[in-house]
Symmetry: C2
Subunit: 241 residues, 2 copies
DNA sequence: TAGTGGTCTAGACCACTTC
DNA sequence: AAGTGGTCTAGACCACTAA
């Protein structure tokens, strides 16, 4: 099996679940029974059960027992980064316009601005090898002397400094849709009039303060973006390299 | 704080990370120090650290110490189910054709068929309130007397019995793209000639046997499908209701 | 009342890293 | 040699569930 007891127990129990000796909803033997079954201490048994629980195999009900989960088969995961996740490498960002403005109501509602607070609207084009690949329209709450605006001019991923500082409280969400490019986009991105493109909207929020940091539209051709998602796997490697 | 010691320790350490008193890459105090700091036993400290590790805050290096993670901000999650996840309820599935055949090479390669093994090709249309909403073309390895084929005729989600049995070893992957509908799809799904649609391919695999169970194309208008993805959250509720 | 899981302790031995 | 995390034990008391 394995040279570590608690992992051997995990393997053994997983096998029972995978071979349907234990079906979703079934109760496992009690921790006391498992102690005898595997000649292990209670803490070791509980370490094994805790692992199985983290991996979505079982859950426990205090006073009753441990039960096999009804597994989730419809959850998918993917990695997405506008500046570093396309099929081609982004080597330049062209700034088309920067405006400080009172935004349209739709945007105002989403950014949840204070009374009389303005927003920054930025339009940019991502380039690769001199070709214009994607276009983005970004709205940020305007804060006086906000360093983000200077970063916007300098960096492709202008939020990188923010991400590094707030990493553990950032809540990003995407809405992925498809659309026909507008005339402007057709021209800029050199897209044929009958070619559909991705339309992705992104909202970045600070979970701790509940403030919106960014609301953005992103347009890119499926030539340069394919979204590959798959069911999450157990093992996670979280080391820094 | 909390009435449970190990959770109070988790909260306290999380706060240090969120308030940047501990930055990515930093080493936490040793477990012995933490025992004194929080007046807790080693096992309690380790339970707290284990929780933080599961939630992606820290990782440990044997012989060295526990370290704050460089967090992952580009991972997104979403739920997707062809038969039970569209903006409208699917109440009927029309079977357009079922063929047992030697599939085109492209499909053969993906299904990884045995020599002389045939495939089943099924074309179906998903309907809601008499409107035809989505179309799917499905390829399965042909196995004699395979119950899946009978299920295909009876159920919308014909893989449901398989999913319930193999749930913990199913490996699904999606490729999401956009396209213009073919003439056939335009007609069937009542889509205007200049309206783009989602083109989603799905591969379902049995991780245990490494066999492909299904390879499918799915076409649906963005009217009926919006993909909303967001960064995963810590808490998971895995109970069966 | 007996059985279950949830929390917590105080120790032990090990392999690994650092000096 | 000293310090670190990794594994494991044998207890203890608690709250909850079920009969």
């Amino acid at each position: 099996m394995s040279d570590v007891l608690y992992l051997a127990i995990v393997t053994s129990l997983k096998e029972k679940i995978l071979k349907s000796k234990l079906k979703p909803g079934d109760m496992l033997n009690s921790e006391t029974s498992l102690m005898n079954e595997y000649s292990a201490s209670r803490m070791t048994i509980r370490k094994s059960l805790s692992l199985l629980s983290n991996e979505g195999y079982i859950y426990s009900v205090p006073g009753k027992g441990n039960f096999v989960c009804k597994p989730e088969v419809d959850i998918f995961q993917f990695k997405f980064n506008k500046y570093d996740g396309l099929n081609t490498h982004i080597d330049r960002v062209k700034l088309l316009s920067v405006k400080v403005m009172f935004p349209p109501k739709q945007i105002d509602r989403i950014l949840n601005l204070d009374d009389n607070q303005k927003a920054v609207e930025v339009v940019r084009v991502l380039c690769s090898d001199k070709k214009e690949i994607a276009m983005e329209i970004i709205y940020l709450p305007y804060v006086h002397n906000q360093p983000v605006i200077e970063d916007m001019l300098k960096f492709a991923n202008y939020l990188k400094p923010v991400e590094e500082k707030l990493a553990f409280v950032l809540d990003k969400s995407l809405n992925i849709s498809v659309t026909m490019p507008s005339e402007e986009i057709c021209e800029r991105l050199n897209i044929k009039i009958n070619e559909p493109i991705f339309e992705i909207t992104e909202i970045i929020k600070n979970e701790a303060t509940n403030k919106i940091l960014e609301y953005a539209w992103f347009y890119v051709s499926p030539k340069y973006l394919s979204i590959k998602a798959s069911t999450p796997k157990d093992s996670k490697d979280k080391r820094i390299f």
